[in-house]
């Protein structure tokens, strides 16, 4: 279990996030949802240990009760968009986390190779990102993240660069992928349809300064999440989100 306490993020004397507390169970998807600029990305970057230079932060992070300092191997981070390096093949991109961690190239590729099929990328190993469709690129980015074998995966709006239809497809894909190989996930999004469709638990953030306003469990099993079943929850969330004054 990952626990954040008293997280305050400051920029130029202004609190972007104030005294935020967070608990992430060892299993399941937690969605972090909120209006633009409320600090979702900042919280995620702090967890990943890559808060931008201008920002200062205080707060404690515990993994199973023991304090840890990010960046930590137990957490892997997937930035917004796919962030695939255009000058590397898909295989090289997928192995990036391993080679950066010091694994020899050959060993890293051996670790990555068996996963391509499961990620719907069989035969794409030697292609370059520009040769792939948006959905395939996104799956390659997931492969790069998942092969790092961390305990918690931090996803910053993984589907925001995709069109809505591909997004629906990728949500289905991610759901089944996580059922096949469970992993704890923190998913940042501002799309309530996405959050309700994927998450086991939704944290609603409010802006000015950023804080957690509500924690909403999603009690519907993953395979029964039809539009009708999710409708009441979505209505609630919509009201919650639209309550927040526009910025």
């Amino acid at each position: 279990m990952l626990e954040v306490q008293g997280l305050t993020i400051r920029a130029d004397g202004r609190d972007l996030v104030r005294d935020l507390a967070l608990r992430l169970p060892a299993q399941g998807i937690t969605a972090l949802i909120g209006p633009s600029g409320c600090g979702k990305t900042s919280v995620l970057k702090w967890l990943a240990g890559i808060l931008p230079q201008g920002l200062g932060a205080t707060g404690t992070l515990r993994l199973d009760g023991a304090p840890i300092a990010p960046p930590h191997r137990a957490l892997s981070y997937q930035p917004q968009g796919d962030a695939l390096f255009p000058w590397l093949t898909i295989a090289q991109n997928a192995a990036l986390g391993l080679t950066v961690a010091g694994l020899p190239r050959r060993a890293a590729h051996a670790r990555v190779a068996p996963l391509f099929a499961a990620f719907g990328l069989a035969g794409c190993e030697a292609l370059y990102p520009a040769q792939l469709s948006g959905g395939m690129r996104q799956r390659a980015a997931f492969l790069r993240t998942m092969v790092q074998d961390s305990r918690l995966v931090l996803l910053d709006e993984p589907f925001s660069a995709l069109d809505a239809v591909t997004r629906l497809r990728m949500q289905d894909w991610l759901r089944s992928r996580l059922q096949a190989a469970p992993r704890a996930v923190l998913l940042v999004t501002h799309d309530l349809h996405e959050a309700t469709g994927l998450a086991d638990r939704i944290l609603v953030m409010a802006a000015g300064p950023g804080r957690i306003r509500a924690e909403i469990p999603v009690p519907i099993p993953q395979d029964q999440r039809s539009e009708a079943a999710l409708a009441p929850l979505r209505e609630t969330l919509k009201t919650l989100l639209l309550e927040d004054p526009p910025r």
Binding site: K45, S76, Y77, F85, A101, A130
Partner: protein, 252 residues
Amino acid sequence: MLMRVLTPLAVFAALLAGWEAYCRLAGVSPLVLPPPSGVLRALVQNRAEIAPHAQATLSVAALGFSLSVAFAFLTSVVLQALPRAERALMPLFVASQTVPLVALAPLMILWFGFGLLPKVLLVVLVTFLPMLISLLSGYRQVPQAFVDLLQAMGAGRWTVFRRARLPSARPAFLAGLRISATYAIVATIFAEYAGARRGLGIYILAAKNNFRADLVLAAVVVSAGLTLALLALLHLAARLTARGPEGQAPDA
């Protein structure tokens, strides 16, 4: 594609024809403005003499340009790692471009003698800054997400540089290379003017002092040809070293 080559060539041919016609019809003294045919004749007749000069210029230019690229690359690596040094030095580098080299070149010969050094230095002076600026701006063009990704993977400053910033700077590097290459030969000729044993600059100076405008222009043609050859070479190298699917398309 063919049209893209043929149209400029046609315009160029028309310009030459106009020049030739002007020289013949207006009866201009070839001492003042030789016709293109005269320049060509001078070039062909004196090719054996021009060749060693062209070769000398080419070696100096190649040496100076290579050193400049190497030096610009090293400097860029150091400066991107030390933003304070970059802030302190860049204004000076930029100010250095405002110095009229025509005044400095003879002094450099006096300071550093008749050997390679002053000429190579001048080439470096002229070609260094475009390269450096291109490289530094190239490093900055790396998407923040790439840096974030690597740092979250535990990468240090150097790994981020090597794996993300450096490859991102490739297009900017090639652009800088092209700008610098355009000036390398011209700068060498300029340096030779101020003092050299051999080279197109010396040849032009002698031709000028012997009132041979045709030979001056012949040497100009050779120099332009060398520059274009250098640019073509860079273009080829860029294509051959391209990674990824853009290797097929011209990316430079």
